[in-house]
């Protein structure tokens, strides 16, 4: 892995982005838009809303570039956090609208169902399922609920009818397993 050269080119990219260079923006977009769009889609589960959100997310990234501090964390992680937080805020806003109250429950069930059913083939992720399916299903379900569903540990415990302690240890085990899988 060319870790060193990628961090060097990343700092050059950042420098150019801060000068508001259009080509640099295109590089950033080409490099990360698919990953961010995947995350947004997985959170909001609605193509149209996901497209609007992706646009908002890149505007936010563009406006907040000066706040990114490479010493405090990785660029990709920073971008993912913006995408995740924006999308979760959007679904929370959608849920808090009273006329959607009934849909909300169905949606929750839908999310959980889909996550229970990890073997379900999905044309979007052809060829990418291998790694994902190596993760133990109970752990994958919990990561998806917390990371993509925006559930707190308490909410996840309630949702899955598990003790809070089990949720916490399982999340740790899941991340440690991912760390080993992607080493």
């Amino acid at each position: 892995m060319k870790r060193q050269s990628s961090t060097v080119s990343e700092s050059v990219l950042l420098e150019k982005l801060r000068q508001r260079d259009q080509q640099a923006f295109q590089r950033l977009y080409d490099q990360y838009s698919a990953a961010l769009y995947g995350v947004v889609l997985r959170i909001v589960r609605d193509d149209e809303q996901a497209q609007d959100l992706l646009q908002d997310i890149f505007v936010k990234i563009w406006k907040n570039l000066d706040n990114y501090d490479a010493s405090k964390g990785r660029l990709f992680t920073w971008l993912l956090n913006i995408a995740r937080n924006t999308s979760i805020d959007a679904i929370r806003a959608r849920k808090s609208q009273p006329n959607n109250a009934i849909r909300t429950d169905e949606e929750t069930v839908h999310i959980v169902d889909r996550q229970h059913n990890t073997e379900q083939p999905n044309s979007d992720y052809i060829g990418m399922q291998d790694m994902v399916n190596q993760l133990r299903p109970d752990r994958k379900q919990l990561i998806d609920l917390v990371y993509f569903g925006g559930f707190t540990h308490e909410e996840a415990a309630q949702e899955l009818d598990l003790p809070l302690g089990t949720v916490k240890t399982r999340i740790r085990a899941a991340l440690q397993e991912l760390k080993q899988l992607f080493k």
Binding site: Q19, R20, G38, Q51, V146, L175, F182
Partner: protein
Amino acid sequence: MNVPEYIASGILESYVTGAVSDQERREVDCMSTIYPEIKQELDELAVALERYTSQFSVEPPESIKERLLAQLDFDVPIRSETIIRPMPIDRAEGGGSLSFRTTWVVAASVGLLLLIFSVFLLSQLRNSQQTISSLRNTNSSLQTEAGHLRDQQGQTEQILALLRQPETRTIGLAGNEKAPNGKLTVFWNATTRQVAVDVRSLPALPANQQYQLWSLVDGKPVDAGVFDSGQDVQLTNRPIGRADVFAVTIEKRGGSPTPTLSTLLATGQVNS
């Protein structure tokens, strides 16, 4: 601070998956700047999650990129050049109708008005300058204060981290005949080798002197850092892995390599 235990607690995993409170997030941010092992573990977890989420990548429609390219402002606006044009000259014609005397009176009154106006402006300017300088003073004192508070908070957080460790031991030190009312508490964690001192009462020292803490190991004194009499709990920045007895002497500011026994004024047994 027990770093492996902190890493094993699961808080870092909660942090990267976004399931922590604001307070917990600040705590992790702080810990990762202090302990490189924590920072490294956080980075590894972040990479794992990045790779995991990348598995779900979906190419967005091309139209989004086009909309963004049209919407965002690129490049810093180019500085427009200032064009210097000659002042238009107003050539008034005639003027012969006014008498020399009238012209003189008008000129004098205009001059007088200008003079009054400039005195007024001058006093306004003085007022503004005074306001600015007092604001500047307030601002700089606020900044200094904020800096102090930030330093203090960093200190407090480190001390709290030390005190939270179950292995941290509390050793009371009592003054001898040189400081009969002297009392202080030493907090010591043999695992992380951190030491903090809580001065409860010690006489104030002149500016060129400081108290110095020693740990005695098999009767040999080891420098455990210097501290002042006035403050609350202070971390002494010397790692101490072993100690039978803690002792305090008065030394020149900055500390001495060996203790001045004549100024020894408090001791405390670790296993008493």
